[in-house]
Subunit: 595 residues, 2 copies
Amino acid sequence: MEKLLKLRALMKEKGIDAYVIPSGDAHNSEYVAEYWQSRAWISGFVGSSGTVVVTQQEAGLWTDGRYFIQAAKELKGSGVELFKMEVPGVPSYQEFLVDKLPSGGKLGFDGRVIPVKEFNKISEALKDKKITYAYNEDLIGYIWADRPALPTALAFEHEPRFAGKSVAEKIADVRKEMSKLGVTSYLVVALDDIAWLLNIRGNDVSYMPVVYAYALITENEANVFIDRNKLGGLASKLMAQGVTFHDYDSVACFLGKLPTAGRLLFNPVNTSVMLSEALPEALEAKQDLLVDPLALLKAVKSEVELKNSRNAYIKESIVLVRFLKWISEHTDISSITEGAVVRYLTALRLEQPDIMSDSFSTIAAYGANAALSHYHPEGEGDSLKPEGFLLVDTGGQYYDGTTDTTRTIALGPITDEMKRNFTLVLKGHIAIARAVFPQGTTGAQLDTLARVPLWEYGLNFLHGTGHGIGYCLGVHEGPQRLSSAGTEVAFEPGMLLSNEPAFYVEGDYGIRTENIIEVVKCDKTAHGEFYGFESLIYCPIDTGSIDVSLLSDVEIDYLNDYHRRTYELISPYLTEVEADWLYAATCPVMAGDID
Amino acid sequence: MEKLLKLRALMKEKGIDAYVIPSGDAHNSEYVAEYWQSRAWISGFVGSSGTVVVTQQEAGLWTDGRYFIQAAKELKGSGVELFKMEVPGVPSYQEFLVDKLPSGGKLGFDGRVIPVKEFNKISEALKDKKITYAYNEDLIGYIWADRPALPTALAFEHEPRFAGKSVAEKIADVRKEMSKLGVTSYLVVALDDIAWLLNIRGNDVSYMPVVYAYALITENEANVFIDRNKLGGLASKLMAQGVTFHDYDSVACFLGKLPTAGRLLFNPVNTSVMLSEALPEALEAKQDLLVDPLALLKAVKSEVELKNSRNAYIKESIVLVRFLKWISEHTDISSITEGAVVRYLTALRLEQPDIMSDSFSTIAAYGANAALSHYHPEGEGDSLKPEGFLLVDTGGQYYDGTTDTTRTIALGPITDEMKRNFTLVLKGHIAIARAVFPQGTTGAQLDTLARVPLWEYGLNFLHGTGHGIGYCLGVHEGPQRLSSAGTEVAFEPGMLLSNEPAFYVEGDYGIRTENIIEVVKCDKTAHGEFYGFESLIYCPIDTGSIDVSLLSDVEIDYLNDYHRRTYELISPYLTEVEADWLYAATCPVMAGDID
């Protein structure tokens, strides 16, 4: 509340009627360095996605269905009110601004962290109100006394055996896409795109091994804007591949001097309004792209990347099997906390070769905590009990792949309703896993399959069914996704996706079953080319929580086959005792099973 | 070919480099009066959808997957080449124009039949080529010597017991929508929208009981542009409800004199470029609507409309049962032609009360003919044989509802593959019929369910799964639809849709199973309001063509329940002999059936 008062005093001083604080950094990254976490600092809400708007009278946080429960908790005492996005009757923050801003008023924000697309939405909504925009007002910077500095961590090479393609080859691929789109220069802002393009990895943010940088690819140059101290000897190696280096802070100035004869491509989703304002007025800019070409190049994994990813997922499967064995055999479950689960998983993962870190903060959520779909235990979190569900969503950054898996396991008795709902989620998961679909199919077309079993019982989950995933990069990566909104990108062989239908009962329990799946070629018939999915992770699903009577024969066959392959693939890496446990955990279920 | 030569000579004379001939009339209607059928006249292709483009060197017809086979046949000898829409590598007609038109060239068309949206696509594609547009060149009018006149048929009232709401009430509803959208006038161009709004029906085109007219609703006026000779005494009745009449041809002139202070709503999908060009330059026009508000009002059927429709579908079910009995018991199937099937269905329908006509040209397609998804027998068509599939897609215009049903029946032995594919189509049909889905769900989300069983075998069908349907109006009606492209409109209770998955093998056979379904409320839970579907038609599905081993228990239950209700609902209206036949035709299938 005190922070809000300071902000409002500053706003008054500067004549700013409303101030917007989004989640992102200057690259619209998912994980942002501490320096950029203004929204969390002012509101207390630490979820990955949300926007705060402050006026003299009111302050609101807008976030989506994943975070409704968590945000309501974390906002307490901050003076910031929760606005539930996409709930009927709740205004968007743009509508809120239309309502609250006086005509001729002034809207302020830090132009580095408002992407062009977001700014366009704001200014479109406010177009009849004669608003002045204060673009370069980092007000939080004035009042955040102990704000952390920008990161200075060292970067390193993603070795050729992991990266597969050389930087020069990747730049050539990008230039081919530029030529198809008829552009002469291409501003790359997304940190994972840049890391992938340059075969470098870094330590600037948690969980995602990227380095703060920009790139501007032209027909003859590959300009990279970065703190060169982070690169050491790598700089000369990259220069040999055609890269020219500039200071990180010089990008706006460099853009301002671009020759106006060409045509620039940039992605308005992640490029800040600060940069777009820096462009010469006369320069033609193409920003109407449905899909960023570099994101698509990166999304379709190469043979080397796929082979390595499969290996990383074997390692991760071993980690998960060991974890599941540990928890299922623990004699005193009440002595384990959620925090202990997180630590044990990290420890098991660090035993594996070529591991860097966790790929996100592990969700170990017991009981009602799991109904907060993105809950992370603070410190020890709650203690487990010998009843109900434990939901564990966890993953690792291996040099040879990024992993992300969720399992929900019963720690003791569960109700019939919990068992039914666990089974409905599993049916949705299997429907996606078994799907065969023609070339050209999008995630919007398949998303429904994960929901139909729940819908039949009047149930649903309020997030997408799946996201893309990086390769030793972001645990969430576009452009493909399994979501009713995912209409832009058709699935292509080599794309990776999560398959994670779920079900949550607020205040009671949460269920999610998630595997990462690879789009694979299936069959070429007179009716076209058909694709399907192949699981990368092999980790037992809690058969004790299944009501087998709700599964069809094909679903039972799928499950048993998945478990048979899990045992075959993973047991060779296990001790005899571990393999025995896995054998029991992957026993086939039978249609006639008494549940 | 001779027609093309004449057109080219005229184009040369007028300096026109390329000439576009679309399918539509001045209202972008599906069924158009003979006067407007220029595209069919010049190309020979009589399908409902297609565009001809002619240059001095080339002539092309663009049509979609439903018509590839039919168009290839019908274009023979016309000099017009087939361009398959949305097939990779085939240019769109706009791309063709970009390629073929010289810079600074002239493009001609009849501005009455090119809707604004279509014109925008053309001019956007050609924006770099400095093209001149000859808007008002009905060149076909010069060379079509025996062109039919515009229709003069009489219109009649859709009586209150059928219409339910009065014209004054409907106009008030429209004004409410106008106020929500912030517009002061609303140009209504779609003929079925106008017929619905005015509670009139007519005979201007085949199959769809509409009258050529425009309407312009303002805050105080309801102007209707129509040939008043068609109305007789109805005119004064409508005037009493607030309608003012003007000549049909005076609409452009009237629009030209609109006060420029207001804001006009029109739908660029059906409003012609001739009309939009007539508007005062200073008038603000809103044409960016996702969904035409009148179309949406009309799509959500009222209680009266639903009750009546259910009654119409009982009548149609009786017709179909009698037809199926006749054909299944015929002792000499080879003596029946496709044309005889069409005539027999029409005759059975005309025995029913409150029948006007068929709602479209019945598709009675035997064997390979059914692979042409929109085949209509010319004259007698082919003779049937005691083997393979007969596909019958038929419907009626009743004063109390419009019907549309497809059944595929085996006339004798069929192969195992045909049986399997019939069953896969049925599985898709059942998946849609059984679907339960939350408020907000669109057709794009559900369409996939109809395809998954086919996709699993590398099969597919190249048209949408379902369309809306009118109420004593168009057999195809928007805005809702079951299609991967149907993202604009969420389903609402009271909407009607067809559910018609299909499968076609070119040169061999075709399968389609179609019921009209109503969106109904299902269940309100903690997770939202859920909707489902209820079938309107009750007509047996050919159980002899089903491979029961491919059906799940829930699918078998659905089928048996549907057949049980068919017998219960329809048998009271049948003779004892007919009821006995229906009893046998609706016998439950059993999981253990030998197929």
